[in-house]
């Protein structure tokens, strides 16, 4: 029988999920070895700024590390960077590395994340300066193209949060930016029309052209982006922001259940009891919304990491976090709590302030599902509390800005006859 110091936990993927898992394991009392693997050669860094400050910083790209090099050493966490894991042998309980070496595990954690979808657009693979954004190396490349001549034409394909953030950042450094969205409105899949309109206008006001119903079909030899309505957009740089693919190639070989991501139970365990999965790559049950979801967020990565660490060290735990997200564009701060999927009515509340300050409350019947808050941390915070407590709200009062922004003013009180 092995002593607990001899147990080995192998983590594939060293970003928000994998790194937090490793450190949480130590906090939970894991005495064994911890090996982290990632193909990215950089010391693991915060990813949300990739599309924001990392692109606009005047200095050399300096990614902000999740943890310092010393802290890995201090916690005896072995980082194997720039190293690809090519296979899992779930029977022998080992992983195979690109260099042919094998590493045994007792517990394996998959934090393999996702990669940008490259849509099948004719001419895209031969076009010049085509980028997506997922890693520090991507930022480095985009910056190097724009460095000496910032006022180049940038065409962003995809009007989701990543595309919008990149557009705002590149506009800030001086590029001439056009966003091409295939649907009728930007952020169409994830927000109410009011929010799409707000961001559409915000970008236009800041000098970014936002064009909807633009289905890109090809890139010409001159690097012109061509849409199916015949419109043409010359581009020095093309940014692809149309969504992600979960990295599940490794997993297929390990015969784990995959459904829109690696399927995990509420303790983040996969269909194999010694293999866990956390972060963007998981398809997991959200007990508040009573549905399986796949989320692309730091919150989910970190919270699942903590649950996995507790589960691996033998605690009974259930993942039940309410999802939250944020996005910064120009001087606007968007904070989102909850999942609005399936909403059937909304309340918009606009505060009287100089800068835009409003919130959109998504309901299904009378159940509050989510809140999008623009420059309005109060709405975000109250929304979080109301969602957690399943509190029924008085929508008329919520929409009435003459009512002060206090929770007590919005809570529906049942009157006795």
């Amino acid at each position: 029988m092995k002593s607990e110091n001899e147990f080995i936990c192998v983590v594939v993927g060293a970003s928000h999920a994998g790194v937090n898992l490793a450190f949480s394991l130590r906090q939970e009392g894991w005495k064994g070895q911890i090996f982290l693997f990632d193909t990215d050669p950089e010391l693991p860094y915060h990813r949300p700024p990739l599309s924001k400050t990392y692109l606009t910083d005047n200095n050399e790209v300096s990614t902000s590390p999740l943890k310092s090099k010393e802290s890995y050493e201090r916690e005896d966490i072995v980082l194997n960077l720039g190293m690809k894991v090519t296979a899992i042998n779930s029977i022998e309980k080992s992983i195979l590395l690109e260099n042919g070496k094998q590493q045994h595990y007792d517990k394996l954690v998959l934090a393999t994340g996702a990669r940008p979808i490259i849509p099948p657009i004719k001419g895209l693979n031969t076009a010049k300066n085509v980028f997506s954004l997922r890693t520090a190396a991507d930022v480095e490349e985009i910056r190097s193209v724009l460095k000496n001549q910032p006022n180049q034409k940038v065409v962003v394909i995809g009007g989701g949060y990543i595309g919008l953030e990149i557009a705002a950042s590149l506009k800030k450094v001086g590029a001439e930016v056009t966003i091409l969205e295939r649907e009728e409105r930007i952020l169409g899949r994830i927000t109410a029309p009011e929010m799409s309109t707000f961001f559409h206008d915000l970008h236009q006001e800041n000098g970014v052209a936002v064009l909807t119903k633009k289905n890109v079909i090809s890139i010409t030899l001159n690097n012109d982006v061509v849409c199916d309505d015949g419109t043409v957009f010359p581009a020095d740089v093309i940014i692809i922001g149309v969504g992600i693919h979960v990295n599940t190639e490794l997993v297929k070989k390990a015969e784990l259940v995959i459904e829109n991501g690696i399927k995990v139970d509420p303790s983040t365990q996969t269909s194999n009891k010694d293999i866990y999965a956390i972060g963007d790559c998981t398809y997991h049950y959200n007990s508040h919304y009573k549905q399986y979801v796949r989320l692309e967020s730091v919150q989910n990565a970190v919270d699942q990491a903590k649950i996995a660490a507790a589960a691996i060290t033998g605690k009974e735990v259930v993942y039940d976090a309410i999802p939250w997200f944020w996005s910064d564009q120009y001087s606007v701060k968007l904070q989102i709590v909850g999942l609005s999927t399936g909403y059937d009515n909304i309340v918009v509340r606009t505060e009287e302030k100089e800068q835009p300050c409003f919130s959109i409350w998504y309901f299904k019947g009378n159940q509050l599902l989510a809140v999008d808050a623009i420059n309005n941390a109060k709405a975000y915070v109250f929304g979080t509390k109301f969602i957690k407590s399943n509190q029924e709200l008085n929508k008329t009062k919520l929409a009435d800005t003459s009512m002060a922004f206090k929770p007590a003013n919005f809570i529906q009180v049942e009157l006795n006859n």
Partner: protein
């Protein structure tokens, strides 16, 4: 070097020294339990909540408007609460004692 003392929820006392950056970054770098700094310091997550020792409030200053709003996420917030990603390390905060919120 600026000296900052953290007291975790298990009453562990951790004394750290820093020169630049935010107090949250210093804490995360040294794995201070209870300080996560998940959003990287943009005041979006409230996972770096500390209670400043009352006599140190003058050194750190009080929370800003957005910070105060975000702190309401935590029922344990009080008038000494700060999100420590919003406290920059400088000579003026040397010697402060911060209790990590539960």
């Amino acid at each position: 070097m600026v000296k900052i003392t953290f007291i975790t929820s298990d009453e562990e006392k951790i004394v750290l020294e820093g020169t630049t950056g935010s107090v949250m970054e210093l804490a995360v770098e040294h794995n201070v339990k209870g300080i996560d700094g998940n959003c990287g310091g943009v005041c979006s997550c409230a996972t770096c909540h500390v209670h400043v020792r009352p006599e140190d409030m003058l050194k750190t200053g009080a929370a800003s408007e957005i910070e105060t709003d975000m702190l309401e996420l935590d029922d344990n917030a009080d008038e000494y609460s700060r999100l420590c990603c919003q406290i920059e390390i400088s000579d003026s905060i040397d010697g402060v004692v911060l209790k990590v919120a539960k």
